[in-house]
């Protein structure tokens, strides 16, 4: 009967996944600039022992560049989706708990933002804020909160009419206490799922906007930039600059997805004590 607690196992697994992500991030930061300098003697090498991911057309080591790029991607993903999900949480709660006017205003803004194609809006915001990392992050964060905000609003509206909220109020609990103790536990899984789903979105938008020249500067080793550069050489038979960094990006997104899933299982009472 006394087997290892499922919750402990899940937590260990989640910690392991988070550890791998942090490791990739740290490796990207620790790799010196020198490692990504080009050398034309080494240009266009397919994967070999000294260059496991090969080199690109300018002779830069692709493994080092990919790791650096992944750490940029993880930063963009976490910051942009975190800020975006935070906005969604605040806006969703304000919409559900506030007056009818607040609700109407929020819904109008959500419709407005959702009505404009993401890429166009990100381009505008990123350009207005002077491109680079700041502009890009602001652009992605400002465009991705809408659907999650709607979800949060719906969840709050659904939960606040439940009898246990009424019981809590009659037991003398304040609105803030109820929000914190009754509603937040219900919003947690939605929030996490939203965060995880935003992560690949943010990375891919970063890549596409950088590709169009309105995001990160071209010398920065971001995955989006590596991929867009690789397109030029793909027809010459250089498959490795596209495939390997792409697969690495996919791996990171999947890791993030697993991490979110583990956290959800720990937090959900149906599976938490299995």
């Amino acid at each position: 009967m006394k087997r290892k607690n499922q919750r402990t196992k899940l937590l260990v697994l989640a910690a392991g996944l988070a550890g791998v992500l942090i490791l990739i991030y740290a490796l990207g930061l620790l790799i010196p600039e020198k490692a990504v300098e080009g050398s034309f003697l080494e240009a266009g090498r397919p994967p070999c022992l000294s260059h496991p991911f090969g080199t690109d057309a300018l002779g830069r080591d692709l493994l080092a560049r990919t790791l650096k790029g992944l750490s940029v991607s993880i930063t963009v993903g976490i910051v942009a989706s975190g800020v975006s999900a935070g906005i969604a949480l605040l806006v969703g709660i304000a919409s559900a708990m506030g007056s009818r006017q607040v609700d109407a205003a929020v819904n109008w803004i959500i419709d407005l933002v959702m009505g404009i194609p993401h890429t166009v809006l990100i381009l505008l915001i990123s350009f207005a804020l002077g491109r680079g990392m700041t502009g890009l992050l602001a652009g992605i964060a400002a465009t991705h909160w809408c659907s999650l905000a709607r979800l949060v609003r719906g969840e709050v509206l659904q939960q606040r009419s439940r009898p246990y909220i009424m019981v809590s109020r009659r037991l003398g609990k304040s609105g803030g206490w109820i929000l914190l103790h009754h509603l937040f536990p219900h919003l947690g899984p939605q929030f996490l799922a939203g965060l995880v789903l935003l992560f690949p979105h943010a990375i891919l938008h970063e890549a596409s906007v950088s590709f169009l020249g309105y995001g990160l500067p071209p010398e920065q080793p971001a995955i989006g930039i590596i991929l867009s550069e690789s397109m030029r050489y793909l027809s010459a038979g250089m498959w490795w600059p596209a495939v390997l960094p792409g697969a690495a990006l996919l791996g990171v997104v999947l890791l993030m997805d697993r991490l979110g899933e583990q956290l959800r299982r720990v937090l959900d009472p149906v599976t938490a004590q299995e």
């Binding site: 009898p163 246990y164 009424m166 009659r170 304040s174 009472p269």
Partner: protein, 201 residues
């Protein structure tokens, strides 16, 4: 010292018919009053009004001569028919009891609650077990009046008897006023010193 409903009118929307029309009743402290009536006669609505979950359109609800407070602990506590809905499924049951004040672990036995249940979630206990938590929560909150809305309808005979025994013992000790809302005439006869029939109006 009584819980009073004075000429209460209530309807759910402005266009719907009155659920309760000119309804008055008094429940003294230390008294157990049974409110009976068939389905759809406003038993649950009356329970919600008495406990301040809803406010009457006309008339007033007074506890010890004062209107029910809109914030802060309410002297009238309602125990609902469905314990599953009255307990947050994402909480451990320890927190459910702590919500009504400090957890008194030595008193759990009186309510038929086992200590091991405290670390479980609501989905891991049966309806009868959960209802004991709802009863304990209402009684430990320090309320002066209890409104029991069909609290034992879906329980087996033994559990039903146990829960009522707990409620009545506590009521006697603290001189609580109790409104028992039920459509079970036998239960009403057994518990109530007085019976109020909603079909009579």
């Amino acid at each position: 010292m009584a819980l009073e409903a004075k000429n209460v009118f209530f309807r759910y929307t402005r266009k719907s018919p009155w659920v309760l029309e000119d309804c008055s009743l008094t429940i003294e402290r230390g008294e157990c009053v049974a409110v009976t009536g068939p389905s759809g006669y406003g038993k649950t609505t009356l329970a919600r009004l008495l406990a301040g979950w809803q406010t009457p359109d006309k008339g007033e609800i007074l506890a010890d001569g004062k209107p029910l407070p809109t914030r802060g602990p309410c002297p009238v506590q309602l125990i609902c028919q469905h314990p599953q809905e009255a307990i947050n499924p994402r909480w451990k049951l320890r927190k459910v009891l702590e919500e009504s004040g400090k957890l008194q672990e030595d008193r759990l036995g009186e309510f038929g609650i086992e200590r091991a249940w405290l670390d479980r979630f609501a989905g891991e206990l049966s309806g009868g077990e959960l209802q004991r938590f709802c009863v304990a929560r209402a009684l430990l909150s320090g309320a002066d009046y209890l409104v029991c809305d069909e609290i034992s309808t879906m329980l087996d005979g033994i559990t039903q008897a146990q829960i009522w025994e707990t409620v009545l013992k506590e009521a006697k000790k603290r001189n609580l006023g109790i409104a028992v809302i039920t459509h079970n005439f036998h239960l009403a006869k057994k518990l109530g010193s007085r019976r109020i029939d909603l079909t009579a109006r």
